[in-house]
């Protein structure tokens, strides 16, 4: 008896609450359609980590299941903000030297891919009458006799002064990394040719500690699967660092995404900058 009455009373209260709930529910949809923001056209020319270097084009619907594009980019900076398909436009990273101690990476178990650099190289991809090997075939431009640094008239768009390469503090220069006789490849100190897709094999020769961190996944960047056996896209050294200017800037500055809106009731962020003093503090 008592229980029944209780249930009745609660039912009545519940009904009232439901009405409120439904009104809340209706409110949800109404305001979504009302407030719907006008969509600005999505940014299609984007860059990943290095502006002007790791460019990427937005391609619609590469994941049909969710209608994802390959990337979504920032309206204000054109930086890539989100990967619909982390492996779009990638190629296998290729073999890596085996290190058989506690610092070995997870190449052995996980599929590793990279964004190949070669298709994006300006001279490399020119038609055969113009590309790197056309000039650097030992005839039009003779092969250099030795690796001794000298002032170059060519490629000043990349390195303004070849005697002051901003890398290694004058300890080396162009031909310590670029193959003198095959400009389509890099070269290490033992004369091994290295693909532009795998600069880590070259950089790691000097930057051993960073290289080991990179192989462990704790330096640099990987996207895709966090699992031990999952497929990952690896960012290689040059996707973040410009080897020609790295001594000046380890990492090129980029434009930040917009600040969050100020909380209502707060009119400006002046107090954060000046800390309440009339003169801004040093550096701001």
């Amino acid at each position: 008896m008592f229980l029944n009455r209780m249930i009745n009373i609660i039912s009545i209260i519940t009904s009232v609450l439901i009405i409120v709930a439904v009104m809340y529910g209706c409110g949800d949809t109404k305001s979504v359609s009302k407030k719907e923001a006008e969509a600005a056209a999505p940014v299609t020319d984007c860059f990943e980590s290095r502006e002007g270097y790791t460019t990427v084009q937005r391609v619609e619907n590469v994941v049909p299941e969710y209608g994802y594009p390959n990337v979504k980019c920032s309206q204000s900076t054109t930086g890539v903000l989100w990967w619909g398909d982390p492996f779009y436009g990638t190629a296998p990273m290729g073999d890596m030297p085996v290190i058989d101690d506690e610092t070995r990476g997870d190449y052995a178990v996980a599929e590793a891919v990279v964004k190949p650099r070669e298709p994006k190289l300006m001279y490399f991809n020119m038609e055969t009458t113009k590309h790197c090997a056309f000039c650097h075939d030992g005839k039009i431009v003779p092969f250099p006799k030795n690796k001794k640094p000298r002032l170059l008239a060519a490629h000043q768009d990349i390195v303004a002064n070849s005697l002051q390469l901003m890398h290694g503090r004058a300890a080396f220069w162009c031909l310590d990394c670029h193959n003198a006789t095959n400009r389509n490849r890099l070269i290490d100190h033992r004369g091994n040719e290295i693909s532009f897709n795998q600069p880590q094999k070259l950089c790691g020769k000097c930057h051993g500690e960073v290289y080991i961190d990179w192989r462990l996944g704790i330096h640099g960047k990987r996207i895709g699967s966090w699992t031990k056996t999952g497929k990952k896209r690896w960012w290689v050294c040059t996707e973040c660092h410009n080897p020609h200017t790295v001594q000046m800037l380890r990492y090129n500055p980029i434009k930040p995404e917009p600040a969050p809106v100020l909380p209502k009731g707060t009119k400006s962020d002046e107090h954060e900058i000046t800390k309440g003093k009339e003169i801004p503090l040093a550096g701001h």
């Binding site: 519940t14 609450l17 439901i18 409120v20 709930a21 009104m23 809340y24 409110g27 100020l262 909380p263 209502k264 009731g265 707060t266 002046e270 107090h271 954060e272 000046t274 800390k275 309440g276």
Partner: protein
């Protein structure tokens, strides 16, 4: 069916009065009209976005009022305790006023909680069995228990007593006294638990103080009796109920000593925080002096302290304390001072700077202010009705037709 009859007679009496009475109710009514609009805006149309809240300042006026009113509710014990435990007879007619105040204050607390909640429609999630009541882990669940328990106790004690006075039958001493003693122990617990609700958060250093419960009690036992004293003096002036001078004097003494204790505690807190002046003092510093040029809170806190210190000094002087023309003014001013000090000036600085150091400021919206005023008006109306009815019962104007005269002379307390 004497209960039904009592209810009808009680309500009838509470709703009838002179012109002044209706003017007072009319004023409250005028405050409630915009409240209806504001409530509609908040609950149906916009949600809490119509108020001045931000993610940085997620608790503000509503919560300040909630905390303050818990104290007012607890303060009923300042009349119940001396009357029943010390048998202090002059408080005979005051006990019921205290209990009515407790009922009103807890009702207002519930009202402010509803305004605080993002999803009041989901309140049923707290009901055990059909929902989940995270007891004993969440202190809020303790607060729900003690507040509702306190509401029940005061309702039971007050109305059982009045009903017996109404019919002329004596109270069942065993049951009644038991309830009263439970209520006496229960009263401080509601405020202590409410203090625990916020002082157990190291994320908010200004609240994270072990003196919070005792300071809450001290300020509550200053502000509560102030309101009761004001009510008593009003009753004395406008009704036939004779309130003894001793009752008023007794309350104003409680008031002045509790206010004194509160000031000492506040002083201790300020010294403890400001002397070492660690990062944890930032919120207090913001409230006291402003920070980086943001100073909205400063006049409020200093104003409250000036009021509290001023009231304390004035109340220390017997001539002023016993001057019933000045006393109600001091009572109301002091009430407002405490309201600022433990309401807004406690809750809002707990949010500024945020736990990760962001400074922002809070401005209430009109809807928020109207809703707050409306809630107070509703509270004032409830209190008026309850006290009016209680006066009728005490005067014997609300009386069962078959009133049993045998006990009339001795009263039922």
């Amino acid at each position: 069916m004497s209960i039904l009859r009592f209810t009808i007679d009680f309500v009838k009496y509470a709703l009838t009065g002179g012109i002044r009475y209706y003017v007072w109710l009319g004023v409250l009514g005028i405050l409630i009209v915009p409240w209806v609009y504001g409530t509609y805006q908040q609950f149906i149309i916009g949600g809490l976005i119509v108020a001045g809240f931000t993610d940085q300042i997620s608790w503000a006026i509503y919560e300040g009022n909630f905390i303050f009113l818990v104290g007012v509710a607890a303060a009923a014990v300042t009349v119940v305790f001396p009357y029943y435990v010390y048998k202090y007879k002059p408080l005979k007619d005051v006990v019921l006023v205290g209990e009515m105040l407790a009922i009103t204050a807890v009702t207002m607390v519930i009202l402010f909680i509803l305004f605080h909640m993002g999803r009041p429609d989901r309140l049923w999630h707290m009901i055990p069995v059909i929902g989940i009541f995270n007891w004993p882990y969440a202190i809020l669940t303790w607060d729900v228990l003690v507040l509702n328990g306190y509401l029940f106790l005061n309702f039971a004690c007050g109305f059982y007593n009045m009903h017996q006075m109404y019919t002329g039958r004596p109270v069942n001493e065993k049951i009644y006294k038991t309830l009263v003693y439970i209520a006496i122990i229960w009263a401080p617990s509601i405020h202590i638990v409410t203090a625990f609700l916020i002082n157990t958060m190291p994320a908010r250093p200004i609240w994270f103080h072990s003196i919070m419960p005792i300071k809450f009690l001290a300020t509550a036992f200053a502000a509560g009796p102030a309101l009761i004293t004001f009510t008593l003096l009003t009753i004395r002036k406008y009704t036939d109920l004779k309130i003894q001078d001793e009752a008023v004097n007794f309350l104003s003494q409680i008031m002045v000593w509790c206010l004194g204790i509160a000031l000492v505690l506040t002083f201790s807190e300020v010294v403890t925080e400001l002397y070492p002046s660690t990062e944890h003092a930032n919120q207090l510093k913001y409230a006291l002096f402003g920070m980086h040029g943001l100073t909205k809170m400063v006049p409020w806190l200093w104003g409250a302290w000036i009021i509290m210190v001023g009231s304390f000094i004035l109340l220390l002087i017997p001539g002023i304390r016993k001057n019933y023309k000045i006393l109600p003014v001091i009572c109301i001013v002091m009430f407002v001072g405490v309201w600022i000090e433990k309401g807004m000036a406690l809750v809002i600085p707990g949010m500024i700077p945020s736990p990760i150091g962001e400074l922002s400021e809070y401005s209430p919206t009109w809807i928020e202010i109207l809703n707050t005023l409306g809630n107070w008006a509703i509270g004032a109306a409830i209190f008026t009705f309850l006290v009016k009815g209680a006066i009728g019962v005490m005067l014997g104007e609300v009386r069962h037709p078959n009133f049993d005269n045998r006990n009339a002379s001795q009263g039922s307390h």
